[in-house]
Symmetry: C2
Subunit: 413 residues, 2 copies
C-alpha cells in the first residue's frame, strides 16, 4: 500500500455560500460569526442562517466563547470551527489491479488519499479486505475518523447501471459483477453509498476540473488495463439507457483484427489498452513488460517504441475523431497511466484528431491529458456524492442513492 | 408544389392540462365550461384558470351563450371554442432540393402540410419565394389564416448554431449560410422565429413520436441528398459545443475512399447519401438515376441492386454500432426517403448493428425506421417552437428565440 500526500483539489463543485463558510473555517481555523461574515463577504443575517444549518447538521461546532477579545459589553461571541470528525466523504475507485481511495472534508477539500494493489484475479471479498485496510491506514495517518462519514462514492470497473437489472452479458467476460458492494460499505461505515462505473466518475472529475470554460461537453477516454470512457454532454454526466454510455473501448478501429474480451473483433481496447501497447512493442522485438520498462525505452528514444506509440496514438485519435464528430464536444481528455509515460502516443492522438476534424474547424475540441491522474476516479466518486454539480442533474445513481434495501442482498460473502 | 392531406400527429409533446382543454375543443367543437370540466376531468376552478388564460391569449373565443339548453335559473352558460384564426404554428424544413411546410393549430395538431421542389443551386431569395408561395397555397386550401401566427420553426440544412458566430468553414462547401432567414420570416409573418439544423429538428420529432418508452436516448440518422443525424441524450436534444452534434454523415467508415464535400475522405455520406447509392448501382452496371428508378429495380428484385443496398446498409449499421457503443441509446431511428424504397438496406443496417453489439446485449437499442417520413423536419420545427417538451430543456435555439435584432441584418435580398 502507498499513502500519498493529500493534494488540493479546489473548486470540485461550484462554491456555494455554505462552501465559502466551510472553506474559511478550514483555512483560518476557528472564527466568530462576525469574523466569518467579514471573511466570506456575507451579511450577518445570511451567515447566521448558514451557520445555524451547519451546526444543526454537525458539520461545524462551537469551540469556545471568545471572551478575552470581546470589545463591547454584549454577550461574548462564540467561535465556530469545522468538526474534524464530521462531514467527511470517501471516494473509492476499484481498478482491475489496484484500489484508490480519497477522503474529502466538509469543505470539499481532498485531505487524504492512498492506493493499494491486488491481483486481477482475486474475488471481491479479498478486494474489500484490502480496501478496508487501506482506508484504515489512510485515515490513521491523517488522524481522521470515519465515525461521522457522510457518504461513500464507489467506482467499479465495467458497466454499472443502478437502473437496470444486471444481466449475465453485463459482466463482460472475466469480471464478476460488483453487486452487493454498496451493502458491504454501508455495513462497514453506516453511510449513504453511491456506486457507478469508475471511468464515468473519472470523466465527471475531469469535466469539473475543466470548469465552466469547456467542461459542459467533454469526452473522456482512459487507457489503462482496459480502455474506457465517459461523457459529459450539455452539462450533464451521461449514463446511457443501460449504463453503458461512453464505452469507447469497444468501438471498432479500422484494421483491427484481434479478438476482444467483449466478444467482438478489432475493438479500440485490443489496440490501445496498456497490455496491448506493451505486447505490440514485444511483437516488434522490444522487451517491455510493464510501464516502467516502457518509460525506460521512451527515455532513450527507442525508434521502434516511438513508432508503436505513434501508430497506436493515431488509432486513438481517429476513434476520438469519430466520437467528436458525433458529439461535438468542447473538450477531450485523455487519461490513464500510459499518458504520462508516452508523450508520443498523446501527440499522435492529437494530430490524428486534428486531421479528422480539420475540414470542420468549429468541431475541433480542446485536447488535453488528465490533470487528476490516477486519483480521478476516486475524486469523481466524491463529487458524485456531494451531489451539488449541475453536471449531475437527473443523474440516476446519485438521485436514487439510499442505503441498500434488504432485497439487494450481497453477492459478497 | 404538392399539398398533401394533413396527418394527425398526436401527442407531439406531453399533454398539459391546457393541451387537454384545447384538444377537447378541437375534437368536440364548442363546449360550455361545465361540459369542458367533465370532458377533461378537471375541477371547475382549475379549468376556469386555464380557459381564462386561453381567452386572454386569444387561443379560444366565446362563440355563443348556451341559453337554450340551460337547465337552471342562473346566468346562461357561455360556450367556448378554438379560434380558428389564432394559435397557429408554422414549421418549415428547407432541404437541398425541396421545402416542406406544416401547420399546427393551438391544440398542437398538424392541420395542413405541403412541399415544393427547387433546384439545389438556387439562392435563398428564390427558395424563400417558393416557400412563401407554398405557405399561401397550403393555408388557402385549408382556409387557415396566418394573421395570428404564434411562431415559426425553421429547419435549414447544414450545421447551425445560434450561439456561435458563423465561420467560413461552417458552410461546408457549396452550401451558402442561411443567415437572415429568421428576419425574412419575421418580416413576413410578424411572429417569433426559431432556426436550427433541419435534421436535428427531425430527430426531435422522431424522439417525441417514440415517447416515454424509449424516446429519452435516441440516435436519428437520415439518409438523403446528404447524410445527417441528431441526438437526444438523457431526455434532451443535444446541440454540441458549436451546433455540430449528430453530424454522423461525416464519421469515417472502414474502407471508405471517396472524397467528401466536407474535405475529408471516406465519410459515411460518401457511401450512404442517396446520390451515392444510385451512383454505386450505376458503377455496378444498373441504370438508376433517381429513387423511382431504384424502387422499380427493387420491385423486380434486381440482384445487383440488392447487393449494393446490403453493402451500404452494412456500412450504415457499423457506423450506427459505433455511435451506439458510445452513447448507449434506447432507440435508433433511420430516416430519409430511401428508407421506404430500399428495405434491403434497412435490413442490412439492422443486422450489422446487431452484430456490432451482439456481445453486449444491454447495449442493443430498438431499431426502427422513421414514422414521420419527410414531414419529420417540419414537425420537429413546430415542436421546438411549442417549447413544452422536457427534451428541449436548456435548448439554446429555443430558449433564446426572440424576434431578430437589428444587428442581425439579412443576407437575403
Amino acid at each position: 500500500m502507498s499513502v500519498v500526500k493529500p493534494i488540493g483539489v479546489h473548486a470540485l463543485v461550484r462554491r456555494t455560500h455554505e462552501d465559502r463558510v466551510l472553506v474559511a473555517l478550514r483555512e483560518r481555523g476557528a472564527l466568530s460569526r462576525s469574523e466569518l461574515a467579514t471573511v466570506v463577504g456575507l451579511s450577518r443575517t445570511t451567515l447566521s442562517e448558514i451557520t445555524g444549518s451547519l451546526l444543526a447538521r454537525g458539520a461545524i461546532i462551537v469551540v469556545d466563547t471568545d471572551a478575552t477579545s470581546r470589545s463591547g459589553s454584549g454577550r461574548p461571541a462564540e467561535r465556530l470551527a469545522l468538526d474534524p470528525r464530521s462531514g467527511q466523504y470517501l471516494g473509492v475507485d476499484f481498478g482491475h489491479r489496484r484500489v484508490q481511495v480519497a477522503v474529502a472534508d466538509a469543505s470539499h477539500e481532498i485531505i487524504a488519499s492512498g492506493s493499494a494493489r491486488y491481483d486481477d484475479g482475486i474475488d471481491w471479498r479479498a478486494r474489500l479486505d484490502t480496501t478496508f485496510a487501506l482506508i484504515e491506514e489512510v485515515s490513521s495517518e491523517r488522524g481522521t475518523h470515519f465515525g461521522a462519514l457522510q457518504a461513500v462514492g464507489i467506482g467499479v470497473p465495467g458497466p454499472y447501471a443502478r437502473t437496470t437489472t444486471a444481466e449475465p452479458g453485463m459482466s463482460w467476460g472475466r469480471r464478476e459483477p460488483a453487486e452487493g458492494i454498496d451493502e458491504a460499505f454501508h455495513d462497514r461505515f453506516g453511510a449513504r453509498v453511491v456506486v457507478d462505473n469508475n471511468t464515468r466518475f473519472a470523466a465527471l472529475a475531469e469535466a469539473l476540473s475543466i470548469g465552466s470554460s469547456g467542461g459542459d461537453d467533454v469526452i473522456y477516454l482512459r487507457l489503462s488495463d482496459g480502455v474506457g470512457g465517459g461523457l459529459v454532454i450539455g452539462g450533464r454526466l451521461v449514463v446511457g439507457s443501460a449504463g453503458l454510455a461512453g464505452e469507447l473501448g469497444h468501438v471498432a478501429v479500422a484494421g483491427g483484427t484481434r479478438s476482444c474480451r467483449c466478444g467482438k473483433t478489432g475493438c479500440l481496447e485490443t489496440v490501445a489498452a496498456t497490455p496491448e501497447i506493451l505486447a505490440e512493442c514485444r511483437r516488434r522485438g522490444v522487451d517491455v513488460n510493464d510501464l516502467d520498462d516502457l518509460r525506460r525505452e521512451v527515455a532513450r528514444a527507442h525508434p521502434v517504441v516511438d513508432a508503436v506509440l505513434r501508430d497506436i496514438g493515431g488509432a486513438v485519435g481517429r476513434a476520438l475523431g469519430t466520437a467528436a464528430m458525433t458529439l461535438n464536444p468542447s473538450s477531450i481528455v485523455l487519461g490513464g497511466p500510459v499518458v504520462d509515460v508516452a508523450p508520443a502516443l498523446v501527440d499522435a492522438a492529437r494530430s490524428a484528431l486534428r486531421f479528422e476534424l480539420a475540414s470542420i474547424s468549429p468541431a475541433l475540441p480542446d485536447f488535453r491529458t488528465s490533470t487528476l491522474g490516477d486519483l480521478a476516479g476516486a475524486v469523481g466518486a466524491i463529487a458524485a456524492v456531494f451531489r451539488e454539480s449541475p453536471l449531475l442533474a437527473n443523474y440516476p445513481g446519485v438521485a436514487d442513492a439510499v442505503t441498500p434495501s434488504p432485497t439487494m442482498r450481497s453477492s459478497i460473502r
